[in-house]
Symmetry: C2
Subunit: 375 residues, 2 copies
Amino acid sequence: MDYSRFFSDDVPSFMRSPVREIFRKVDLSAIFSFAGGYPSAETFPLDGMGALAEAVVRKYGAKSMQYGATQGVPELRELIARRNGVSIENVQITTSSQQGIDVCTRILANPGDVVEVTAPTYLGALQSFRAYRAEAVTEEGLAGRKPKFFYVIPDFGNPSGETMTLEERKDLVERARREDFLIVEDSPYRELRYEGEDVPTIYSLAPERTLHLGSFSKVFAPGFRLGWILGPQELLEQIYICKQALDLCPPVFDQYMAAEFLGSGELDRNLLKTRELYRGRRDIMLGLLEKYMPEGVTWTHPEGGLFLFVTLPEGVDTVKMYDTALSEGVAYVAGSFFFADGSHCNTMRLNFSYIDMDRMEPGVKLLSDVIRRSL
Amino acid sequence: MDYSRFFSDDVPSFMRSPVREIFRKVDLSAIFSFAGGYPSAETFPLDGMGALAEAVVRKYGAKSMQYGATQGVPELRELIARRNGVSIENVQITTSSQQGIDVCTRILANPGDVVEVTAPTYLGALQSFRAYRAEAVTEEGLAGRKPKFFYVIPDFGNPSGETMTLEERKDLVERARREDFLIVEDSPYRELRYEGEDVPTIYSLAPERTLHLGSFSKVFAPGFRLGWILGPQELLEQIYICKQALDLCPPVFDQYMAAEFLGSGELDRNLLKTRELYRGRRDIMLGLLEKYMPEGVTWTHPEGGLFLFVTLPEGVDTVKMYDTALSEGVAYVAGSFFFADGSHCNTMRLNFSYIDMDRMEPGVKLLSDVIRRSL
């Protein structure tokens, strides 16, 4: 039976995530994987999960398993509010920060509307924008049109690994105020800084026109689908009403697990270890690229986060090279997927958080060989 | 700052859930509440949660805390497939069955499309349809238009408590095939039958044009936001792509908790006790209504589920009566919220699963008094 006659007009714009498609088909544990944005399993508090669940039940009882408020449980909202120096009314818990992107797009973008993005930008955000038939373009692509909002990961961007300076943030805010658009600041990696100083969030510079997205995925575990949105109450109110119809409320037991993990100080203790681990991996990664990559290949030097972005000589097509790489046993994500216009075919995103330490050298060596042969 | 200039065209159609608004403002534990569709806390396996979390970590290790497949983790999909006698390819796990309704609407309905519903029907579904600017109408309201799909809770409907006969299901399927529309069969209560025989699901009668929604909320706990969709692979494929952009994947730790609870047989043992408990409450409720309700008030006799639906004499407006009831200390949900056209102002939904056994009699007595005074 052909179902196409039933589909909504949004469906032809749905875009598969090439990253998720890789995971659908390939057993990553069998290859050297620099694809994906997975945290290291070493950062998961596995041994403490039973005790954490028991503490939640002891402390919160039946309400930990019941339906909860659409905004999120007050205990977790309060903890996040305090951590970010905002009021609880400015905190909406989301069922993952991907949902945060989705719901912001839902309340703001009509088909044909323009969303301004950086080049490159996060693939999952491009998926959300396209699924609502909004057009994602860079500043150059605006051609005089006003964006509804600007989407950006200012700290250790996915995929670039780069961080916006304070000047750049101030310029963006000034432009947003002058041209009257909103800013969606996606900030899942902000707490994973390995060197340098924190730069103020865009939200702190323009709280009246910024929706700031946070996530537990990189500081606790992505298996709990939990994020949050900080923003003006008037915007959060529409997100709240929308979210009622999306999933009624965020996962309640997960929220109390996160509240317990955060409130007890475990999260911050774990974060110290996580930063150490990832700083080490980043440094090894940078050293290995220096050691093995052929001449003409360059890469970013991230101060934090999970990724670095590699540029190969012009003419190399990393999408075409991908099957070869995979058959040789090494995976990356082609960089062109992160460009709204599909350009920059000679780039790739490498993740350094997931792969085991002792597999980094053979992995980078293998990848360098594949690249060298393609030159 | 006025944000209305930024909002998408969907936003004015967003509809607040009157039920969720009640919970936002009122401490339900302080009143006699027949509102909401909450399961009884007595059915939650609270004492076993620590051990369950430990079993999950022991059995599944780090993958229980990592990102997972967008379709859901294979172990849970397999268990649900077996329980429902379908293939794993016909199972998509959802982050709540509310998300199931949302995503089905998303892939099927354009603004202005018609979704056929029963009268009354589930409020959360009306919210989803309206949020996509689809028009929810009953058969009488079709006026010659073809629905994109028919949405129905055939077993112990919310709010009616009523169950479709096999003949009615066959007629619906025949009509769907003749007139060429799909069916979304929402089935969160099916396993909560207290008398009578199971009626075959609509999905079993028309697997080629039905999306069947299931939920863990009433057989495990709603604090884990987990449901599933059974349906044709071609439809699930679009839901899968859409869900990537919605939240990447359902909560992974929750899925393994549910898989462990289901796979170990605990779910079925717990379900036996849950049915006993709710059967008792339903019987008490029916007896109390008989004992206290004024003449001219009628109600449904549900064979299962969580609700019964009360009809008062013409002229009584249960929306207007609500503030009085609440100030007296008793809550219900006005029935007109469950009608796409807002009619049937003289009806109300009563939930009998949540309120403690010893609070049922004073609650029904109080409600009966409020009703009597409004006649």
